[in-house]
């Protein structure tokens, strides 16, 4: 992956003594990753999709700040736009969001100190999504442990501001956006998600889960159950885990 050089100060530098400076370093780190560009383009797409589906600008901005997960927003806007009920949309969104659980579980231990209370982690937890997860794994080892929460707040708020601007821009451009560009932007989400998931695969079970999940969904979707992703995901994930368990035992 292409990465612009990021010069964070050394761990013992005095610039880490103030939480405010750590916050500012987090915000500046937004400019150090190509994923920011992918997010920017994705949110132009989400803004344009919301405009074409007749949601208000305030509504889609609120969805960016509150939901803060690209696929969930695309699913929410397209299911509501296609006339689904609130319950159907909520089920589709919550199924797509299960992936956030293991991300939170794996990121938070990087930030905890013995003094950390659960409430100190609420905002950080809200910001966790694929991009922040990937960037935390890359950047947090270069940040002193007691400043990691402030740093991540800066990173999360910085990324959120980028996405709010992109949402507004996409909403404004929608009517003038050539359909080809709109299609290219919507293709970014599956491409970037597939590749960043493939890169974060640590074990055989992760690789199998990715491949089986891709293969199984088109078959399960023929059933039109309304929870197709849940069925294909739990089945594929459990088979992948089963293979892992069987190999560990053998």
């Amino acid at each position: 992956m292409v990465r612009w050089p990021l010069a964070l100060p050394p761990l013992d530098s005095i610039s880490w003594q103030s939480p405010l400076r750590a916050f500012a370093w987090g915000m500046r780190s937004v400019a150090s990753t190509v994923l920011t560009l992918v997010l920017f383009a994705t949110y132009i797409g989400i803004g344009a999709l919301a405009h074409d589906t007749h949601f208000s600008l305030g509504w889609v901005l609120a969805s960016t700040a509150l939901v803060w997960a690209g696929p969930a927003q695309i699913i929410l806007i397209s299911t509501l736009g296609s006339g689904a009920t609130v319950v159907q949309a909520a089920i589709a969104v919550t199924v797509s969001a299960i992936r956030l659980f293991p991300m939170v579980v794996s990121v938070l231990p990087m930030m905890r100190t013995p003094q950390t209370k659960r409430r100190h982690l609420v905002l950080v937890t809200h910001f966790i999504a694929v991009t922040l997860w990937v960037e935390c794994v890359r950047l947090l080892p270069h940040v002193p442990r007691e400043r990691r929460i402030a740093f991540t707040h800066g990173l999360g708020i910085g990324l959120c501001l980028v996405c709010l601007s992109a949402t507004t821009l996409g909403y404004g451009l929608a009517a003038n956006l050539p359909p080809l560009l709109g299609a290219a932007i919507l293709l970014l989400t599956p491409l970037a998600f597939l590749l960043s998931t493939a890169r974060n695969c640590r074990q055989l079970s992760d690789v199998l889960a990715l491949v089986l999940g891709l293969a199984l969904f088109p078959l399960v979707s023929l059933l039109h159950t309304g929870v197709d992703i849940l069925i294909s995901g739990v089945t594929a994930g459990t088979i992948a885990y089963g293979v892992h368990w069987w190999r560990e035992r053998a």
């Binding site: 994923l35 319950v87 969104v93 992936r99 599956p190 998931t197 089986l212 199984l216």
Partner: protein, 114 residues
């Protein structure tokens, strides 16, 4: 102001159908995460299921494309993502190269088909 937000009913739908069903998984992670061992078998299973669900989300966008993506023929959508993945593998797992390559092939294919 009312134009900016739209009606309050729409905002309520956002909270009920978008915010809460999404956020609940983050907060469950915060609540139970402290007690889960990073290397535990439970977490291996949860991660496999989460990865497979993410794969399902990717497949859903490709198989049932939203908005303007529906104007790209099926074969071209799948081919562009497969090519992006191949480029990613060939460039020692460069996400940037894979994304740009996949997009370029989709655009070239669209232009070729007219």
């Amino acid at each position: 102001m009312s134009d900016f937000i739209g009606d309050w009913h729409a905002l309520l739908v956002l909270v009920v159908a978008g915010f809460l069903p999404n956020e609940v998984w983050r907060m469950l992670g915060l609540w139970f995460g402290g007690g889960v061992d990073e290397g535990s078998e439970l977490l291996v299973w949860v991660r496999a299921v989460a990865t497979a669900i993410l794969a399902g989300v990717i497949a859903q966008i490709l198989v049932l494309p939203p908005g303007a993506l529906a104007s790209v023929p099926d074969g071209l959508r799948y081919g562009a993502v497969a090519a992006g993945f191949a480029i990613f593998m060939l460039t020692r797992r460069s996400i940037f190269a894979g994304v740009v390559g996949g997009e370029a092939i989709m655009l070239a294919g669209k232009w070729w088909l007219g």
